[in-house]
């Protein structure tokens, strides 16, 4: 079932077009990575999908059981000031505000669900800690947990690994894959093409001259895919150019 369908979408700021004629589709359970060079409109696309900027033309359709305000969003790091005084629990709970119409109080069910989600991403032990004193990896887990509170189905991440050390990045990716295998649909903007290819079922490549949308397998066989990657496709059916790159890594 498709959760999100984008048709001939054009986005931009102040009349300047940044993303043009884009089309893709995200099905339930997919892991879509959006990759591409700087300035090709990845973050603009994210903002468009969330409704933070108005679209110039085209369509964004949401499937059954999801709406624009029920996407779990994890934005770029610089949005949050480093010394903000807030506990992990306060931040996680704020993810529920889209389902509280008046936002007065959090319900018992929401508190229970928050506890389950904190267990799932492994932050229960730090629930009373101060956000500003956590490591980068822990902070991203907290923000991921907040995103999960805001959604039942779809999370949208904008370069979540930026600023994380290799170990924290690997841990975060493992967590994402676990969530994805448990049924959470993931859309992730990434600079880390290798990491993205390892995890994704689908790839959306935004280039200066060309865009590509398809499965990861199709991407690896496409011209844009080949030009970016030094190693061949790691899948079993492609023995012809498999050099064992990251398959065993």
């Amino acid at each position: 079932m498709s959760l999100l369908k984008v048709n001939d979408l054009t986005l931009g700021y102040d009349g300047k077009v940044i993303v043009k004629g884009l089309g893709f589709c995200v099905n339930e359970g997919d892991f879509l990575s959006i990759i591409g060079e700087n300035g090709t409109g990845k973050t603009t696309l994210v903002k468009g999908l969330l409704g933070l900027i108005p679209k110039i033309s085209g369509e964004i359709e949401f499937g059954e059981g999801i709406s624009q305000s029920h996407i779990g969003y994890l934005g770029q790091k610089n949005q949050i000031s480093k010394d903000f005084p807030a506990s992990v629990y306060e931040i996680v709970m704020s993810g529920f505000l889209n389902s509280n119409r008046f936002g007065l109080f959090y319900t018992k069910e929401q508190k229970k669900e928050a506890q389950l989600l904190m267990d799932r991403v492994g932050i229960t032990s730090i629930r009373n800690s101060s956000f500003s004193q956590l490591s980068g990896g822990q902070q991203q887990r907290v923000l991921l947990c907040r995103a999960l509170c805001a959604t039942k189905k779809l999370i949208l991440l904008d370069e979540p690994a930026t600023g994380l050390d290799p170990i924290a990045t690997a841990e975060f990716y493992t967590l994402l894959q676990k969530l994805n295998s448990e049924g959470v649909t993931v859309i992730m903007v990434s600079h880390d093409v290798t990491g993205a290819i390892k995890m994704s079922s689908n790839i959306l490549y935004l280039g200066k001259d060309a865009t590509f949308y398809g499965t990861t397998h199709q991407y690896l066989h496409s011209n844009v895919g080949k030009s970016l990657l030094l190693e061949g496709c790691p899948c079993d059916s492609c023995k012809h150019n498999a050099k064992g790159g990251f398959k065993n890594a």
Binding site: G51, S69, Q79, F84, P85, S87, G103
Partner: protein, 272 residues
């Protein structure tokens, strides 16, 4: 000791002072954390300009004439800050110094009986019955907003993009906060002075952030600190005559800030 309350102007000053302290502390937490600290400063200068012009034109009650001007300025300042243009801070500095200059110019040109000193540094005697009513209504509004929309205010302050993505109308919150700030500044500046009122907005939030690491704790501590400093300042300036109350309150704020900063250092050293 309590003979201080036998003077009706002192009673007025206490009521308005405590109410304004509560408003400043609550709004200050949001303004400081959203990096809008300069808005309070800019507004007080615009307020000064508006008050001077209103007084020279003999508009009767300068306070009421200044309010709409400052509310408009609050909206305007918020917009330039929100756009995130690189020069937003410079623009605010320009506006506030221009408003101050116009105020001084207009007040002096007439030779007038406006007491510039009183506008700049505040005076307890400037507090009247009207101020009590306005500040009471204002405090009720601010408390209402903070109690009822507490969770949303947290979300918008912590991460505006996320809040917007979850469908919260963040601009409504920003405008509400800036309008409430504008009214707070106009009412508070005549007692504390144009040059000192912004300290009352910024200090309590910064002070409590030294020690408190949770948002709720910061909000509550700010209110306590703010009210304490205003009350202590009023008592002090009453017993040592001729000491302006605005300056005394700011010095108390500075003192409490330094104490909290020291406590924070000690706590950090202990944890190591």
């Amino acid at each position: 000791m309590l003979d201080i309350f036998s003077y009706s102007f002192m009673v007025n000053a206490f009521i308005v002072g405590v109410l304004i302290a509560v408003c400043c502390a609550l709004l200050g937490v949001v303004l400081v954390l959203k990096r809008y600290s300069m808005i309070g400063d800019g507004l007080s200068h615009v307020g000064f300009g508006a008050l001077s012009i209103a007084a020279v034109l003999n508009l009767g009650a300068p306070l009421y004439a200044a309010l709409p001007v400052v509310v408009f300025a609050a909206y305007f300042l918020l917009r330039i800050t929100e756009k995130g243009k690189v020069n937003a801070d410079a623009a605010i500095a320009l506006i506030s110094s221009s408003a101050l200059a116009i105020g001084v110019f207009v007040a002096s040109i007439n030779g007038t009986n406006i007491d510039l000193q009183q506008y700049m540094f505040g005076s307890i005697l400037a507090v009247g019955q009207g101020d009590i009513i306005i500040s009471a209504v204002l405090t009720v509004l601010v408390l209402f907003v903070f109690v009822v929309f507490y969770n949303k205010i947290f979300a918008v302050t912590f991460d505006e993009s996320f809040a917007r993505a979850t469908g919260i109308h963040t601009s409504v919150y920003n405008i509400t906060v800036s309008i409430l700030t504008a009214v707070t500044v106009v009412v508070g500046m005549r007692m504390l002075g144009t040059l000192l009122i912004s300290a009352l907005i910024i200090f309590p939030a910064l002070t409590s952030m030294r020690v408190c690491k949770r948002f709720k704790a910061v909000v509550i501590t700010s209110v306590v600190v703010s009210v304490f400093c205003v009350v202590a300042g009023l008592f002090t300036s009453y017993y040592f005559e001729n000491i302006p109350v605005g300056a005394t309150i700011v010095i108390y704020n500075l003192g409490v800030f330094l104490v909290f900063a020291l406590v924070s250092l000690i706590l950090k050293a202990r944890n190591k």
